[in-house]
């Protein structure tokens, strides 16, 4: 079954990066995958640096298949230290590519991570507005 996924997917699946709850997160994004019902929660911490808002820390929790866990993990690596602007541009396709591809039936799984990220950024912006 490990042949179902590439090496990179299996690496992130077995050693997922940035797992866990973030108690003092600035933004939280939660999505349920409409195709399969799997769930992901993404937490971000945002800092201002040279007038830019940067994702300084990120973590995730995922209930899902191997692809869902691997995409969650790699997306946290891809955006950590990136500006919100850059992070917003990350597509599910880019996530899948970073993992060296996903089997066709598993392409929808990468939506989970990309959408959760956008939701977390959205949530951060909303919280920010509330503060002002």
């Amino acid at each position: 079954m490990s042949d179902l996924y590439g090496e990179k997917v299996m690496d992130h699946f077995t050693n997922p990066r940035n797992v866990g709850v973030m108690k003092d997160a600035d933004g939280v994004g939660e999505v349920g995958n409409p195709t399969c019902g799997d769930i992901m929660k993404l937490y971000i911490k945002v800092r201002e640096k040279n007038g830019e808002r940067i994702i300084s820390d990120i973590s995730f929790q995922t209930l899902g298949c191997g692809a869902a866990i691997a995409t969650s993990s790699i997306v946290t690596e891809m955006v950590k230290g990136k500006s919100l602007k850059e992070a917003e541009k990350i597509s599910n396709k880019a996530v899948a590519e970073a993992l060296g591809g996903l089997p066709p039936v598993k392409m929808h799984c990468s939506n989970l991570a990309a959408t959760a990220l956008l939701n977390a950024i959205e949530d951060y912006k909303k919280n920010k507005k509330g503060e002002k």
């Binding site: 490990s2 077995t14 866990g20 929660k41 209930l63 866990i69």
Partner: protein, 401 residues
């Protein structure tokens, strides 16, 4: 490898393989040919048919139709009987089945609804996965032509009350006779998972059609049979030569048929001993899993009487089945989530859905099915790893386990 997927398939037993061997390149004749090796093939084929009939308690070997497996058997039986009934009555006919059948029955029935205009009913089941004979009785209509109920469920192991259902159907047949209702009624049973564990004697049990596939009981893949009680009308589906008395065209797969029948013989002889052994393994597994892992549920009937001995399906709360299977696979432990077919699709299984589990719980389903390849120590080895795997996945999960 540790193999906990005997409900998906089993290895060919050495004795079975040995029985098959001469029929590949040595005694390779076509049973329809008139010269010696053709006649020999024919006689082997008919001998196999007779043995299969005897094991099943059939009245005549002619009641056995060899096929390419249970999928074909159920397609042939259900479609064939529905077509024959529609032709005979000249009107729309009804097929009644349960919501937890294998796809080979379920999708055949759905196909009949779509392309043939058949009326259909999919009976719901209890939380334990059992069809209620009373519900079934109420769902029978004057135009019901086929009732198909599986004997043992492949995803969670519920044994359906086939005997009781057969009695209800017999009463219905008598009622029709008395009242002059002409629609024939055929009772079809998918006995694929139960055959190795539960003796079915068609002499005593009024079943009209029964599907089997050899690879679930240490026979080869791609061969099965359909039992058809004498006098049961059905139209052939596969057209061509006159093999199987015109009921199933195509040159007979002699080596595989020989293999299947040998596997049936062995299964029939060993049934009680095998059941006892596998029951004790499965009980041990269930005991261990429920004692050592929190928030886990064994689904299916509570009573062992209503369960297949070899299947234990657990819902692990807060995790997803595939991620459990991947972790097990890395340790070379084979199990499945629901059915092998389901792992290719994304929908939670129709079986857990029919039992009333929500999609999220159904996601955490992992099926272990035990058999000849197992030793008790396999379960110990599994249990050295499974609690840790579940813990790790739960720590990663946004849903509390």
């Amino acid at each position: 490898m540790i193999y906990f997927d005997h409900a998906a398939t089993t290895p060919i037993a050495p004795k079975v393989l040995k029985a098959m061997e001469p029929y590949f390149s040595e005694k390779f004749g076509n049973p329809s040919s008139i010269y010696r090796i053709g006649r020999e093939a024919k006689s082997i084929l008919e001998e196999a048919r007779k043995t299969a009939a005897d094991i099943l308690g059939a009245e005549s070997p002619m009641e056995i139709v060899f096929t390419s497996g249970a999928t074909e058997s159920s397609n042939l039986g259900i479609k064939g009987a529905m077509e024959a009934a529609a032709f005979e009555t000249g009107s729309r006919v009804h097929v009644l089945t349960t919501a937890i059948e294998h796809h080979s029955v379920l999708d055949t029935v759905k196909h009949l609804e779509k392309s043939f205009g058949a009326e259909t009913t999919f009976l719901s089941v209890t939380r334990e996965g059992l069809a209620d004979p009373k519900d079934l009785s109420k769902a029978i209509k004057d135009n019901t032509a086929v009732i198909s109920v599986m004997s043992g469920n492949n995803e969670m192991g519920a044994l359906q009350p086939i005997e009781e259902i057969a009695q209800i159907i017999e009463l219905e047949k008598e009622r029709r006779k008395k009242q002059g209702i002409e629609t024939p009624l055929v009772f079809h049973v998918d006995a694929v998972q139960s055959f190795a564990f539960k003796k079915i004697s068609l002499k005593d049990l009024p079943i009209d059609m029964l599907s089997l596939t050899a690879h679930k009981f240490y026979g080869p893949k791609g061969v099965g049979l359909l039992y058809v009680r004498q006098g049961t009308k059905f139209n052939s589906q596969q057209k061509g030569g006159a093999q199987e008395k015109g009921r199933r065209a195509g040159t007979e797969n002699v080596p595989y048929i020989v293999g299947m029948v040998k596997a049936m013989q062995i299964a029939d002889e060993k049934r009680d001993k095998y059941s006892k052994k596998i029951t004790s393994f499965t009980n041990y597994l269930v005991e261990k899993v429920t004692a050592e892992i929190q928030n886990v549920e064994l689904i299916g009937p509570k009573s062992n009487q209503s369960r297949l001995p070899h299947i234990a399906t657990f819902l692990f709360k807060g995790v997803e089945g595939e991620s459990v299977l991947l972790n097990l696979d890395m340790l070379d432990i084979a199990a499945s989530s629901g059915s092998a077919c389901t792992s290719g699709s994304l929908e939670p299984s129709h079986v857990t859905k029919a039992m009333g589990y929500d999609d999220l719980s159904a996601h955490g389903a992992v099926r272990f099915s035990l058999g000849e390849l197992n030793k008790k120590s396999d379960i110990d080895k599994l249990m050295e790893n499974l609690p840790g795997i579940i813990d790790k996945l739960r720590a990663m999960s946004p849903v509390k386990g």
